[in-house]
Amino acid sequence: MRTVVIVDDHAMFRAGVRSELAGAVDVVAEASDVPTAVAAVLTHRPEVVLLDVHLPGGGGVQVMRDVAHRSPGTRFLALSVSDAAEDVIGTIRGGARGYVTKTITGPELVDAIERVADGDAVFSPRLAGFVLDAFAGSIEVAHVDEDLDRLTEREREVMRLIARGYAYKEVAAELFISVKTVETHVSSVLRKLQLSSRHELTRWAADRRLL
């Protein structure tokens, strides 16, 4: 069974998640703020940390900053009630392998944990939409930037299908590729999102400010 640490400042929500995950994963610890979360992760070295985005002590991103290099095997799955673009993109760029909102069902959450533990990325439809939006300007011909700042046409296709509510298996069938290939594309999108120069994303944010 996967070892999991739940980090959330609401005890009731932790209890709810714990009971939904019961039997499917092994919840080794819970934490309610950044220092306790860091301590719990370093003590238990879980495979996956379910990480609330809004957390006393500097937010979930702070936990990832403090822990990332000290527990390299641990992967983070953001779980938040906020679906504001700033939070979602910020958390992914902070190192999370996926982002799901708290309305996710129990089985879906277990599935997401499994996938993150296997080193894969988890994009909810909403997150895929944000990613497409964030990289939307990158197909301009005049704007020649390094490769990292773009999504390939195939990756955009995959993101689009995920945003439309397709599961990996269905994406694979739709595009006549293997599920493994879909996973590769998704991971590479995540990598670009986390590593790409801040230029495109900054411009995207600026565009949204202009609303």
């Binding site: 439809p125 939307a136 439309r164 565009d207 400010r209 202009l210």
Partner: protein, 443 residues
């Protein structure tokens, strides 16, 4: 036109600045590239006029206000639940550019045997510029500051950091250097000393005399502001909680025996609260996004099936809601209703993508997908006109494309497409079309 847009104000945009953000602000205001404005100021600056103009604008133009965040994000930031803003200096580029230009000008003029007072004057101007730059930084940080108290130290150095102190030291240092150079070059070190002493004494004397009043004034202002902000915020939040959460909880208590109704109520309330807390605060305009969200909300309330809407490329309502777009939106709504009513799916996914192709036209694609029972489209009897009429025909009539893909057991997806869209005119960046008289142009 019934709507009157407020007069446009020019701001400085220090976030994108090399010096004071005057050029980038002007560029935004005039709708031209910032580079051109900068070139203009550089060229005119050679004759002195541009420098004066620039400084005048720097002093008079207000700073662009900090962006307003949604209440949820603001609260989370205030309580330290979100990562703080990066405190490091953004990058040293602007300062390096500034120093290089300064040195370049000095070298140029000095090499040509300029007047003796040039160096001191340049240093003095540089010092003042750096000090003004720091004042901008402090003001900006005060805007982003989440505590509401005024604080003299914060007024000067903002949230501190070595960059703020470095700027202060550099600015003062440049001014003192200017003075010393002046003294050395004019050979009147004594005079310079006297000036420094006199100025220091004057400032200190003023501070001693006016200090108590100033401190009290600042404290009073801070407290008054804090109290006002607190009261207003509490009133707003209370009003919203009363209108939404309390009413819903009361309803849920009354309907406790009906799980379906409770789930619907809770879901509707969650949606409402979420958009209030984290959404973009522009619910009144009709855009592709708002129309789809409204339709999804209605379907959720009527049928109790969650509808997830994801819209890409429509930030700020980039596409005008014309007749073809409306047809697609109505068809999408119909597809949501069908999915919620017949498919028996736990959730309906709606994805819309706006692609502005070039400057004048674009495309809109909407996908409505469920993972419900599905059906065989070919087996639908010809007299059952629901899908054909309200979805397929409606969209094709307006020059779009519509397709229903479904298989028993694999759910249904409705794909809608329309092209040649007009871009919505943005009020903050008027195009040439807008400046022409609009009377009588409405159909």
């Amino acid at each position: 036109m019934s709507s009157i847009s407020p007069p446009r104000k020019a701001f400085r945009v220090p976030q994108e600045s090399y010096l004071g953000g005057v050029c980038s602000g002007l560029a935004l205001h005039l709708g031209i590239g910032a580079t051109w404005v900068r070139v203009f100021f550089l060229l005119t600056g050679l004759f002195g006029f541009g420098v004066v103009f620039y400084l005048g604008l720097w002093i008079t133009l207000p700073m662009a206000p900090a962006p307003v965040e949604s209440p949820g994000l603001e609260a989370a930031s205030r309580q330290g639940r979100r990562p703080g803003r990066p405190t490091a200096l953004r990058d040293a580029g602007p300062h390096i550019a500034f120093v290089v230009v300064l040195l370049g000008v000095v070298g140029l003029v000095d090499g040509n045997g300029g007047p003796a007072l040039l160096w001191p004057a340049l240093f003095a101007v540089g010092g003042i510029a750096v000090l003004w730059r720091q004042a901008d930084q402090a003001q900006r940080e005060r805007w982003l500051d989440t505590t509401t108290r005024l604080d003299v130290r914060r007024l000067v150095v903002g949230s501190g950091g070595w960059a703020a102190y470095a700027r202060l030291a550099a600015g003062l240092g440049l001014l003192v250097t200017a003075l010393l150079l002046f003294a050395v070059q004019t050979g009147q070190l004594r005079v310079a000393q006297d000036i420094v002493v006199a100025a220091t004494l004057g400032v200190a004397g003023l501070a001693v005399i006016l200090g108590p009043w100033l401190v009290r004034l600042v404290a009073d202002l801070g407290e008054e502001r804090a109290a006002r902000v607190r009261t207003q915020e509490r009133a707003d939040v209370a009003a919203h909680l009363h209108d939404s959460v309390l009413q819903t909880l009361a309803l849920i208590q009354k309907n406790a025996a009906d799980p379906g109704r409770v789930a619907t109520l809770a879901r509707a309330q969650e949606r409402d609260l979420r958009s209030w807390m984290y959404g973009d605060a522009r619910p009144d305009d009709v855009t592709v996004t708002s129309a789809l969200q409204a339709a999804a909300a209605e379907v959720e309330d009527a049928h109790g099936v969650p509808v997830e809407v994801v819209v890409v490329g429509d930030s700020g309502g980039r596409v005008a809601v014309t007749e073809p777009v409306r047809a697609v939106l109505q068809a999408a709504r119909e597809a949501m209703v069908n999915a919620a009513r017949h498919a028996g799916a736990p959730v309906v996914d709606v994805y819309a993508e706006v692609v502005p192709a070039g400057e004048r036209s674009g495309t809109l694609d909407v996908f409505v997908r469920d993972r419900g029972s599905g059906f065989d489209p070919d087996a639908v009897p010809a007299d059952r006109l629901g899908v054909r009429h309200s979805i397929l025909d409606r969209v094709t009539r307006h020059g779009g494309r519509a397709e229903v893909r479904s298989r028993p057991g694999h759910g249904t997806e409705v794909r809608l497409h329309v092209g040649d869209l007009e871009l919505a005119s943005r009020t903050d960046h008027p195009t040439t079309d807008q400046q022409q008289p609009t009377g009588g142009s409405r159909p």
